[in-house]
């Protein structure tokens, strides 16, 4: 499975030239030049309207005339269109309840699990059945303040995972694991020979040739998570994986 459909707006942030390496913290004054700059993501104009303040711990970014803070830490908030890895935690005849690492449990209705019958020539639609403990790659179809987020399994690359393992990282760091134009994820796949599926809720499904490759990949992802705010990470990851392969006696 490939991870082609990537939300492009997220991609560039960590590596873009407009993001400097300045770490800012909540309450920090990003600028007093409110004439020329507007408060963007992760920022607020103060009460006296003479300062733009950071709201999160993150990297300062100036894009056109907006000042943004790219968060380094944070929790996942369900958004329509996001691909997520969901864990079925409960079920009843009318719906599945899934944990998606967000503040709310997400719902999956049987009508959103239908697949065309596999029998040749058949046009029947079968709803696939799931059990508690199943891992599903799903897409969020709706999420708002009042209702629980709703999922669908109808779509490319969506569905139940039969094997492999899922790890979790800080959701804000997911774009770094994907990289600009998918450069990081391609590198990881090629060098560790693992299948990788990265989703917006901070979860990553992996399946490799052997546990040794999977371990290497997990260590690499932890390193990306730790160094997400630095420059030259893609090259360093390449070096790191090659070095580790040598150290661990792997090819």
């Amino acid at each position: 499975m490939e991870n082609d459909e990537i939300e492009s707006e997220e991609l560039d942030e960590f590596e873009s030239d407009e993001t400097n390496r300045e770490i800012v913290v909540p309450g920090e004054v990003l600028t007093e030049d409110v004439e020329n700059y507007n408060p963007g993501r992760g920022t607020l104009l103060n009460k006296d309207k003479n300062k733009i303040i950071a709201l999160n711990i993150g990297l300062k970014q100036i894009k056109k005339n907006y000042i943004n803070v790219i968060p380094l830490r944070g929790f996942y908030t369900a958004r329509p269109g996001d691909k997520v890895i969901a864990l079925v935690v409960d079920k009843n005849p009318v719906k599945y309840k899934c944990d998606i690492n967000a503040k709310d449990i997400a719902i999956l209705k049987p009508k959103n699990t239908v697949r065309r019958g596999k029998i040749r020539g058949s046009r029947s639609m079968e709803a696939e059945e799931f059990d508690i403990g199943d891992i599903l790659v799903a897409k969020i179809i709706s999420a708002d303040r009042l209702n629980m987020p709703e999922l669908t399994l109808v779509g490319k690359y969506l569905g139940k995972k039969e094997n492999g393992i899922v790890i979790s990282i800080d959701p804000p760091k997911i774009p770094r694991v994907i990289g600009r134009n998918g450069s990081m994820i391609k590198l990881l796949k090629n060098l560790t020979k693992c299948n990788i599926f990265v989703t917006q809720n901070g979860r990553i499904w992996i399946k490799g040739e052997s546990i040794e490759y999977e371990r290497l990949l997990i260590d690499a992802i932890e390193k990306i998570e730790r160094e997400a705010h630095t420059v030259g990470l893609t090259d360093r990851m390449s070096q790191y994986i090659e070095n580790e392969k040598q150290k661990r006696g792997m090819k």
Partner: protein, 274 residues
């Protein structure tokens, strides 16, 4: 692995047991290998003794406090040692606030049986005046981060905290409790060094020191406490069953592993003088 939830995914269960069958674990350890153990002692000024033990990411801080009170009527010349455990809600999303639950009671009791028996704690030395005044030693374990195998980490931290203790020495003079100016130290409190070793079982595979994912998935556990030459206690939990051969094998392995670990840890280095 994936963020801790009460429900463990089926693929994770399968992944762990498939690999265990091949003798492999996701953190690269052997079946009979402990995670990294880090010990610091005498870290709490307000306590008479203290230790922090990190076993992998599991983190337990134990403190020792004392009181003076009347002995139990059937043990008039012996002090009392009581072990308590708190699974702090900050240690895991799985822990709730409130009075001790089954898990914390199990931890306290298994560590209690694992280190108090076999005369590990010198309760006779904890007597100030027979029938009137004895020391009551409180061993309080606080779990700061839960990543599997609280029992082994708890055992080491309780033992190290006791070894690091300095308890004011009291004497009865004309019916009044007075300080001699000296202290009881670790050597007065602790005689033996029992170590508790916990094994998990998934399917037919038995392995040492379950990490969090392994612990949440395993069907049974067995904790065996050993001194240099004796088995002090055994506790089995969970629904899995163990054959007699398996138990005999584990007893032998615990004695061997116990000696190895005891030497490596060298817990007497944590005794505090003056």
């Amino acid at each position: 692995m994936m963020n801790i939830k009460r429900v463990i995914s089926t693929i994770e269960k399968d992944y762990i047991s498939e690999n265990l069958k091949k003798g492999k674990r996701i953190d690269g350890r052997d079946i009979w290998e402990y995670r990294k153990i880090d010990i610091s002692h005498d870290i709490i000024k307000s306590a008479e003794g203290s230790a922090e033990v990190k076993l992998g990411e599991t983190d337990i801080i134990t403190g020792i406090k004392y009181d003076v009170g009347e002995p139990f009527p059937d043990l008039p010349d012996e002090g009392v040692c009581t072990i308590m455990a708190e699974l702090l809600p900050l240690a895991s999303p799985l822990f709730e606030r409130g009075p001790p639950d089954e898990q914390s009671i199990e931890l306290a009791r298994v560590v209690d049986r694992g280190i108090r028996h076999a005369d590990c704690i010198q309760t006779k030395k904890l007597c100030i005046k027979e029938n009137e005044a004895v020391y009551i030693i409180f061993v309080d374990m606080f779990v700061m981060n839960y990543a599997g195998n609280l029992i082994d980490a708890g055992g080491i931290s309780a033992l190290t905290a006791l070894i690091s203790s300095r308890i004011p020495e009291g004497v009865m003079k004309d019916g009044n409790l007075e300080w001699t100016g000296n202290y009881l130290n670790g050597k007065d409190l602790v005689k033996e060094l029992p170590l508790i070793m916990t094994f998990g079982k998934i399917g037919d595979i038995i392995f040492l020191d379950p990490n969090l994912a392994e612990e949440l998935v395993c069907e049974g556990r067995i904790s065996i406490s050993v001194t240099k030459d004796k088995i002090v206690s055994i506790q089995k939990s969970g629904v899995a069953t163990f054959s007699i051969e398996e138990i005999q094998g584990l007893i032998k392995r615990s004695m061997e592993l116990g000696r190895e670990i005891r030497d490596k840890l060298d817990l007497w280095q944590y005794k505090v003088d003056k």
